[in-house]
């Protein structure tokens, strides 16, 4: 990293992360139940506990960002578990109103 110069805000944030160990502490332990602590990238929070490095708006590249199975506890895993989730929402940035969830409360 020392030979690279950060050009944009996100890169600067990454540079500010002092050590991987510090990031790890934040990542592993500081999320509310129901949120993912996988923050590379994160769904609810970025590795710095903020929102600045998230995919925003999330609809703009939902499938690329969720990467089929990146946060399977928050975004349906279209690789194996829910292959049809989002099939009616080809372009999430346009059809986001159709986005629906997996609700297990019923039978």
């Amino acid at each position: 990293m020392k030979h690279l110069k950060s050009l944009n805000k996100k890169a600067q944030l990454i540079n500010q992360a002092v050590s991987p160990e510090e990031v790890e502490d934040v990542v592993a332990m500081q999320t509310v139940v129901g949120c993912t602590a996988t923050t590379d990238p994160g769904w609810e929070l970025d590795p710095f506990g903020g929102l600045g490095s998230l995919c925003q708006p999330m609809e703009s590249d939902l499938y690329g960002c969720a990467d089929a199975c990146w946060w399977p506890a928050q975004v349906p895993d279209t690789m194996h578990t829910y292959p049809d989730w989002g099939k009616d929402v080809v372009k999430a940035n346009e059809d986001w109103r159709k986005l629906d969830g997996i609700f297990e409360d019923g039978e």
Partner: protein, 533 residues
């Protein structure tokens, strides 16, 4: 389970999770349930052992809560093509929770997840388990399971096959994740959460008490306030309990409802009630004698919105169950209501506290004006021979306010098929205690206090991004409602209405304001709502 749409979901939510399970006959014979397993599960699982005490591969090596078994059966339906009727599913959940459940002491550390009270940060867990398992879902999800070591290892294998990206996340790709998870973490899980425990052996042997009868109930409903009520539970032929609930909120408005309850594992109370037109769920645990229950009641359609629920059985003995409010300021004449049952005899509010006037009294509620002249401390309340230990906090000055929940997540929604996820707040007051310094261990907890609520950006970045303007608003009752979902063209890069906010409670006392703060993340939807997150 296939994704459900909004209209089907309404029906499903209406029918309720485990509440359904109560349809099963209590006289569910083990043979019937085992036959369901034989009929529905043996295409993949195998049976061994004696026919009257059979062992089913994978199934018999696990113990779980009723919700845990429901979760598993849902997974079998969704991923493995299990074909099972609703009645059979209910019967099976009931049988498995009763015969392969968790002892009360085993479920106790993780009741927040069963109660769906999830606005908290799990702390104090084993770092290896947090890094390996709790980085995607709660620690309570596996903490509420018991398995053999081999079973925990098979669960690791399931994750590898089903969610192969697990290996590529941070905290995984920089190490031999599979070897660590399979050979170390699963072994640790087998040690910490083993299939066979003395606690479960003891609970299996314990005499289970029916939970029918009259229950003196106290609780809190966001937006409505604290209430006290009587709940009657009568056991029906199907083994479920028919419930009626009648009571009042502290502002005097009535509360009335009816519903059904099912008891799993001898102590896990699950109920659905229609209360004044709103479907509510109760999740409680009964004590060993079956004479008191504690838990939470929440909106069936919105599990984040709920409050504590306590029930004390009417055993014909006198009992004081609560004082509302639970605090009394020295030198100030204050109206108090003592809630109880079979109350008779003199009222004693502890040393230095005088009953100035008895406003009205019945055998289940005493309304009075009291004044404290003594020193600070938590007093026991006595009515005749009935006593409530630590029932009333006498204090001189409010010094600290905590916002509950301290950490929370709300989620945008409303315009897509995803509902908004709101957050319900309460303020807890403290006096400074003997050392005179608020924020120290000797602070005296006074109880929940009325507060005025506001939000502000959590930091400079949140202020610059106008999070407080876009991410939502909080009402006078302390309920935060997040903003609409979808890209917002008014925001930088059309960002969603997400944000990081500080929720502020201001409690006013004697012209002085004491404020407390909580941290709120307004996030994007959680598209996967499991039975247990």
């Amino acid at each position: 389970m296939a994704p459900t749409n909004k209209s089907t979901r309404r029906t499903l939510i209406g029918s309720g999770v485990l509440l359904l399970a109560g349809m099963a006959s209590v006289s569910v014979q083990a043979d019937d349930a085992r036959q369901i397993i034989r009929d529905r599960c043996l295409a993949c699982h195998t049976e061994s052992g004696d026919r009257s005490t059979p062992s089913f591969s994978r199934i018999s090596e696990q113990r779980k809560t009723p919700e845990g078994w429901q979760f598993t059966i849902n997974r079998m339906i969704n991923l493995r093509g299990l074909d099972i009727s609703a009645d059979e599913k209910r019967e099976l959940i009931r049988y498995l929770a009763d015969t392969q459940g968790l002892a009360p002491s085993e479920a106790e550390p993780f009741r927040y997840l069963l109660e769906q009270d999830t606005n908290l940060v799990e702390e104090g867990g084993d770092p290896a388990l947090a890094e390996t398992c709790a980085r995607c879902h709660s620690a309570a999800r596996f903490g509420l399971q018991r398995r053999t070591t081999e079973e925990w290892q098979l669960l690791v294998n399931f994750h590898m096959g089903q969610f192969p990206t697990t290996e590529f996340h941070s905290l995984a790709r920089d190490r031999k994740w599979y070897e660590i998870a399979h050979d170390e973490v699963a072994v640790k899980l087998g040690e910490q959460y083993p299939l066979l425990t003395p606690a479960w052996d003891n609970w299996k042997q314990a005499v289970k008490t029916d939970l029918d009868g009259r229950w003196r109930v106290t609780g809190f409903v966001p937006g409505k306030g604290e209430y006290d009520a009587w709940m009657s539970a009568s056991k029906a032929d199907d083994g479920r309990y028919n419930l009626t609930l009648e009571g009042q909120y502290t502002d005097g408005s009535p509360l009335s409802g009816s519903g059904k309850a099912t008891v799993y594992t001898g102590y896990e109370w699950r109920a659905t009630l229609d209360i004044d037109g709103v479907k509510m769920r109760q999740v409680m645990a009964a004590d060993a004698k079956g004479e008191s229950m504690k838990g939470r009641m929440f909106l069936a359609a919105e599990r984040e919105i709920g409050g504590a629920l306590n029930a004390v059985k009417d055993t014909q003995a006198a009992a004081v169950v609560a004082v509302m409010p639970s605090y009394l300021r020295v030198g100030e004449s204050t109206e108090l209501t003592i809630i109880g049952q079979n109350l008779n005899g003199d009222v004693d509010l502890g040393p230095g506290v005088k009953v100035e006037k008895l406003l009205d009294r019945s055998d289940d509620r005493i309304h009075l004006i009291a004044k404290a002249t003594g020193s600070e401390g938590v007093q026991s309340i006595q009515v005749g021979k009935a006593e409530l230990a630590s029932g009333l906090a006498v204090y001189s000055e409010l010094a600290r306010v905590d916002v509950m929940p301290k950490n929370a997540v709300a989620r945008i929604g409303g315009l897509s098929q995803m509902p908004k996820v709101r957050t319900a707040y309460r303020a807890v007051g403290y006096s400074a205690g003997v050392d005179g310094k608020p924020g120290t261990e000797d602070d005296l907890r006074l109880g929940y206090m009325p507060a005025s609520w506001s939000i502000k950006p959590a930091d400079e970045i949140a202020a610059e991004d106008k999070d407080a303007q876009f991410a939502g608003s909080i009402d006078a009752a302390g309920i935060f409602t997040p903003g609409d979902d979808g890209p917002n063209p008014q925001r930088k890069m059309s960002a969603n209405n997400v944000g990081r906010l500080t929720v502020v409670a201001n409690v006013e006392e004697a012209g002085k304001q004491v404020a407390g703060e909580g941290s709120l993340i307004v996030s994007v939807p959680d598209f996967v709502r499991r039975v247990l997150d």
